[in-house]
């Protein structure tokens, strides 16, 4: 390859000639070695997260253990009750001054909403099969 060099011999000699003052400044070598001594290696830095990750996984497993041990019913035995028509509870007759208090009015509305949502969830959620077959 050197024989096919498109550069002349004098140019090649010049490319190989020593350059003026390419040595680093005094004290650089000491600084470099000191920094290398205090630096951490790749292996320790690479796996430094491992103990934290293992601890997090362990905590998650311990937290999930009671849930994993709870027996769940077989899906084939699940029955779903059809939602009954919403039961409208008769609202007590409120006096006129009752509506004058905004917070009380709000509390009444929230109570009604919660009652309706609770009834809906009770009737819609799957229930365990009735051992006596009354349903």
């Amino acid at each position: 390859m050197k024989n096919n060099d498109p550069l002349s011999k004098s140019t090649v000699d010049l490319l190989r000639a020593p350059l003026p003052d390419t040595a680093p400044r005094p004290g650089f070598e000491t600084r470099l070695i000191c920094n290398l001594k205090t630096a951490s290696t790749g292996n320790t830095r690479r796996f430094s997260w491992l103990p934290f990750a293992a601890a997090a996984v362990l905590i998650a497993l311990l937290a999930a253990l009671p849930l994993l041990q709870t027996p769940t019913p077989a899906p084939s035995n699940l029955t779903t009750n059809p939602p009954p028509p919403p039961v409208e509870t008769p609202r007590p007759v409120l006096e006129l001054d009752h509506f004058a208090i905004p917070l009380r009015k709000e509390a009444t509305a929230l109570t009604d909403t919660a009652t309706r949502a609770g009834q809906f969830l009770i009737h819609c959620l799957p229930s365990l099969p009735d051992p006596e077959g009354t349903l």
Partner: protein, 193 residues
């Protein structure tokens, strides 16, 4: 010195991989001057070159578990240096000549050294980073094309093409009247005391 000179780079690298900081220190002492000279020529800034030399060996230390001791150490460390230098090069390409940025020693320097510095400045100005690195590794480090290809992360054939292109480009820009300090107006490149 805990490691004698007859210990090969491969032995030192194995010892360093086993956790010996002394072995890695010895490897650093062997190779940092070449890495520094390469970075200094590429970046034309002494502070940048020293910073990147340090970064190169710190990175070598953290990546040492990736190094195959069966391979030569110097091309591997040049690979790390080149990557860091190219990142810095892209941020701000150096335009000044070596003589502008580097204070010259008080001892008289042969004219050929100034001419060589000017020639490398010309190369830095006109070549792409890959081409400059290939040229430097071939002529200054005497690395075989196979190792140059490893540094450049190219195939051997591709490295030959890059090297050939670098030489051709350099030859096209060679005009002694325009770049040699001994042939041109001396004020631009004469050493500053």
């Amino acid at each position: 010195m805990p490691f004698p000179d007859d210990k090969s780079d491969a032995d030192l690298a194995r010892a360093a991989q086993a956790g010996s900081r002394e072995a890695f220190g010895e490897l650093t002492l062997r190779h940092y001057p070449a890495v520094h000279a390469f970075l200094l020529s590429l970046l034309a800034n002494r502070t940048d070159a020293e910073d990147l030399t340090q970064d190169t060996f710190l990175r070598a230390l953290t990546k040492l578990h990736h190094f195959d001791p069966g391979q030569p150490f110097r091309p591997w460390v040049f690979t790390l240096a080149r990557r860091l230098a190219i990142t810095r090069w892209r941020r701000h390409k150096p335009t000044s000549t070596l003589d502008d940025s580097i204070p010259h020693p008080h001892a008289p320097t042969p004219q050929s050294a100034h001419d060589a510095a000017a020639l490398w400045s010309l190369a830095r100005e006109h070549l792409k980073p890959n081409e400059f690195a290939a040229l430097w590794l071939f002529y200054r480090e005497d690395l075989p094309v196979k190792d140059i290809a490893r540094v450049l992360k190219k195939s051997e054939a591709n490295a030959k093409v890059i090297l050939h292109r670098a030489r051709t480009t350099l030859r096209e820009h060679l005009s002694p009247e325009s770049w040699l300090p001994s042939h041109r107006n001396a004020t631009a490149i004469q050493p500053t005391s």
